[in-house]
Amino acid sequence: MEDATRSFGKGSLPPGPVPDGLIRVYSMRFCPYAHRTRLVLRAKGIRHEVVNINLRNKPEWYYTKHPFGQIPVLENSKCQLIYESVIACEYLDDAYPGRKLYPYDPYERARQKMLLELFYKVPHLTKECLVALRCGRECADLKLALRQEFCNLEEILGYQNTIFFGGDCISMIDYLFWPWFERLDVYGIADCLNHTPALRLWTAAMKQDPTVCALLIDKNIFLGFLNLYFQNNPDAFDYGLAC
């Protein structure tokens, strides 16, 4: 995988400028937000390089890329920096030719952005469930709240009667949602999809997508990362990389 490189930590030298014809993404192999950007890069066949950041031990130079040291950040050969995962994804769709991931039709485009609003509680809830379970706490309430959010998404698929959120083909909105659904199993909350058959069909269809497939994270490696992450081990981010 393109992003199977060791992360940059404190004391590391900053990478040089981005070569012409390439775009760089500052990322972390297990981050769902960065995952969105990597999906779009892959789906559009954009030549890119990945620089992984050690999020528990951030390089000082990284704050010149993002004021709060967050990922993902895109950097192009003109030294332009773009951040917030959704903004980065839209930038890539606008700036690069080929397959358009957002619809051309302004209303359909607006619809995808409205759908994204419906999704906004999911990242926080899935993370809270993960943390609760890892800390040995109960999370029935959180799971209930998450199931409710999934019901709302289920309703959309039912109303539209389409496989994907943007219609019968995969599009931007599906890629923007996917990273959290991929993580349900490894977070231990896959049963939150028990009452949402259309959403289960959607996840099955997503797993057939070549882009999604190419970036699927190995479950054991993810578990290894999570174990180290919750022990506050700064080596977590490089877990599973060959030495």
Partner: protein, 240 residues
């Protein structure tokens, strides 16, 4: 363009379909989010009709327009509905010809969206300060607001331009303007007293035809706010 129509409330009949050649905005005369949409409609010269909604007594049919029951909502003659103020503004810019408010350049467009993110904490801070107008303990929130506003000052300082998107007014300026207008009217001016470039920006904004066409009457805003904070169903029609 009538923005002074009485609002529709619970028990009202739903409006008919939108005539061709027109776009409808469900709005409320004092809502800052709806003001964004009205600014874009005005700036782009888009023929539109306004239906004001009584937000303290919402018509049942309004939830069919937006399941969240919030304004603004756009409805076109094809019956398509668009909500979330920023999404409505971008939709209008995409669909209608004339002056483009969002840049064509993908990086400049992304830059406007990044500035918009920088602004994101301001609305809730201004709202909570407006609600606390009569209480003493606003100092913490005022400090927070000043901090957020400083980030915007920094953008103008780094860019060395009058407006947030360059030397002409563009989408990002319209998206953030409504809260600065309210800060002035409601005497939260001290929150911008350390930001000279923002003060220049505010003065420049007031000269814009769309901004000045939609400026609120200070007395009307105060009257509305007073009733709104008491949950009065008369609030949204104050001054009519």
């Amino acid at each position: 363009m009538s923005g002074s129509a009485r609002s529709l409330a619970k028990g009202s009949a739903p409006p008919g379909p939108v005539p061709e050649g027109l776009i409808r905005v469900y709005s409320m005369r004092f809502c800052p989010y709806a003001q964004r949409t009205l600014l874009v409609l005005t700036a782009k010269g888009i023929r539109h009709e306004i239906i004001n909604i009584n937000l303290k007594s919402k018509p049942e049919w309004f939830f069919k327009k937006n399941p969240f029951g919030l304004v603004p909502v756009l409805e076109n003659s094809q019956g398509q509905l668009i909500y979330e103020s920023a999404i409505t503004c971008e939709y209008l810019d995409d669909v209608y010809p004339g002056k483009k408010l969002l840049p064509d350049d993908p990086y400049e467009k992304a830059r406007q969206k990044m500035v918009f993110e920088l602004f994101s904490k301001v609305p809730s801070l201004v709202t909570s300060l407006l609600r606390k107008q009569n209480e003493e303990d606003c100092s913490g929130q005022k400090e927070e607001l000043r901090k957020e506003i400083s980030k915007l000052e920094e953008v103008l300082t780094n860019k060395k331009t009058t407006f947030f998107g360059g030397n002409s007014l563009s989408m990002i300026d319209y998206l953030i303007w409504p809260w600065f207008e309210r800060m002035e009217i409601l005497e939260l001016n001290d929150c911008v007293d350390h930001t000279p470039k923002l003060q220049l920006w505010m003065a420049a904004m007031r000269k814009d035809p769309a901004v000045s066409a939609l400026l609120m009457e200070p007395k009307a805003l105060r009257g509305f706010l007073n009733l709104y904070l008491q949950n009065s169903p008369e609030a949204c029609d104050y001054g009519l």
